[in-house]
Amino acid sequence: MNRQAALQLGAPAGLIVGAALLGALVSRSTEIYFINALVAVSMVVALYVFVGNSGVLSFGHISFVAVGVWAAGVLSVPEQEKPAFMPYLFGFLSDTTVGNVPSLVIAGLVAAAFALVVGLPLMRLSGLAAGIATFAVLEITNNILRYYEKIGPGLNTFSSVPETTDLAQAAIGALVVVVVAFAYQRSRFGRQLRATREDPAAARAVGISIYRQRLGAFVLSGFLAGLAGGLYVHFLPINVDAVYLDLTFITLAMLVIGGTTSLWGAVVGALAVSGLDSALANAENGLELFGRTLEVPAGTRIIVVSALMALVLVLRPRGLTGGREFSLARIAGLTRRKRAQEVAS
């Protein structure tokens, strides 16, 4: 791996580690925001693996997170606690309990299987049709998880799930997701998929199967999203509405604001928006500014995030990072010259 590649991986990884270290230094109550941010990184990078590389929009990825939540949650709750809020479970589900890491792996695998089933028909679609179809998947998943009480808590909230996602687990999880994403985009498959994004006709002409490459990325990102879901359910008590429209929106917003087409963008977007969101959440509890307490009303957070997202889309559609990977040369100010050259050519 050459120096440039090392940097491209090192930068987002470094941000994650940095965030984790920072989180270790603050108080217990503030630490929660950092864990949340790191779990968000996993979700956003999972989304990026598909959307960023293929250029196809998916509104349905949170359904994979939800499946991961369900799989990890149902299997990790201790047997005696299950009937309390999941009284109708299938026999094999109520009898089985797994440990922390197995639950995460199973979450990823189940979500990947689900992604395969969904992706087989859907990967032929592009553009608007893909957006609507994946939105339909989100709706269907939500509907089923909400009412099918044999596979989970239905409308109830997950409780008694071992809270194993601390700062370390969240950070490690995020790092795993980032490394996998990076390995994928550097691999032959990743590069082929990116080619289909840039110029579908040319890609097809050299024998790349758009359908197969997209399906591969979709399943991989489904796995990662499921993993993120597992991390999530071990962190907070989740109910079916917590993995529905709001989460879909904020994850998408993070990716768009950071920059849809790069791993760096995904990580930056997730951390930046999480940071902003957390700061505002804190402010909603009363903000101490220059000795005076500022009352920031509840709900300001989503207003700011959505306004920011709309603004980014209109003014800087490629996101904060310009959709590019991390590069030292850019920081050194050579960016401006380079961009000027690119515009002129």
Binding site: L125, G127, L252, P297
Partner: protein, 311 residues
């Protein structure tokens, strides 16, 4: 087991044929048809799915609640509703739709998604999650008797209103020059422009009409559902969207039919089926959406014209 199913089916059928259920279902279909036109018109001209359409209706409903809170006369409330929705629509067009013209549909989709959340969160902030009551027109929700059947006035009002609106729209599209410009823009935007059709004007008019329709829908819906929350009309909008996609997104008539059909069917099922059975209804509906997108992307009511991306 079969006996239960059979008796269930007979119950359903006998309920369904009930005149009251029919009228209610057609009334709901009428409201959904208006929403479908609003969505379909903007899509046709701007090639943009306005995810925030439901929030426009919500804003109109809140305007009505605002007015009724202060005891203003109903007419003032309705006027405020129209004013709020139309202004909001035009601002959206100017600030978000126009700058994004020519971008990929995916970008436009996400942008309207963002606007939808923005509006919803502003409403949450302003009015709280419990919402307000728009109590002004509730006498329309009361039934009157036709023979031995009780029919709610609002159902009739909705049907008549929808019929009139649709008739006016057809006249506008077919007999006026702006209507012609809009039809041409929907068919081939670029060629329309080089003939001199003003893109901004056509865009604004389409959004304006959609806004007027949204206001009307807000009035009609608040009669039946006087409690207005930030998620007012959200479920209905998503349902109508599904109906429009299944009916046929690219043409106004199939889109309207799709909206009407899904409203009618929802009304029938809502009125005639106990809730236990209708839990998984959304899954079937959205499963149908996916099926249509895969097999007949132009929609069920069209002649198989695929969703074209605008250049």
């Amino acid at each position: 087991m079969k006996a239960i199913l059979a008796s269930g089916l007979t119950d359903f059928l006998s309920d369904a044929v009930d005149l009251q259920v029919q009228v209610d279902a057609i009334g709901l279909g009428a409201v959904f048809a208006l929403m479908a036109v609003g969505i379909g018109l903007v899509f046709g001209v701007l090639r943009l799915v306005n995810f925030a359409y439901g929030q426009l209706i919500m804003a109109g409903a809140f305007a009505l609640a605002f007015a009724s809170d202060r005891g203003w006369p109903v007419v003032v409330g309705i006027a405020l509703c129209f004013a709020v929705v139309i202004v909001l629509s035009l601002v959206m067009e100017r600030a978000v739709f126009r700058p994004l013209r020519g971008q990929s549909p995916a970008v436009m989709l996400i942008a309207t998604f963002a606007v939808a959340f923005l509006l919803q969160s502003i409403a949450l902030l302003w009015f709280g999650s419990l919402g307000k009551t728009a109590a002004s027109l509730t006498e329309l929700n009361r039934p009157f008797s036709v023979g031995s059947v009780e029919i709610r006035k609002i159902a009739i009002v909705a049907i008549v209103t929808a019929a009139v609106c649709l008739a006016l729209l057809v006249l506008l599209l077919n007999r006026t020059s702006i209507g012609l410009h809009m039809r041409a823009a929907a068919l081939d935007f670029q060629t329309a422009r080089l003939l001199g059709v003003r893109a901004n004007r056509v865009s604004a008019v389409a959004v304006l009409i959609a806004g007027v329709l949204a206001s009307i829908v807000a009035v009609l819906l608040t009669v039946q559902f006087p409690t207005v929350t930030p998620t007012f009309a959200l479920r209905e909008t998503i349902t109508v969207l599904a109906g429009v996609v299944v009916g046929g997104m690219t043409r106004l008539l199939p889109a309207t039919l799709g909206g009407f059909t899904i409203g009618y069917v929802s009304g029938l099922l809502g009125g005639a089926l106990p809730t236990a059975q209708s839990q998984y209804l959304p899954s079937f509906v959205f499963g149908l959406v996916i099926l249509v997108l895969l097999v007949r992307p132009g929609g069920l009511f069209t002649r198989g014209v695929p969703l074209q991306e605008r250049v």
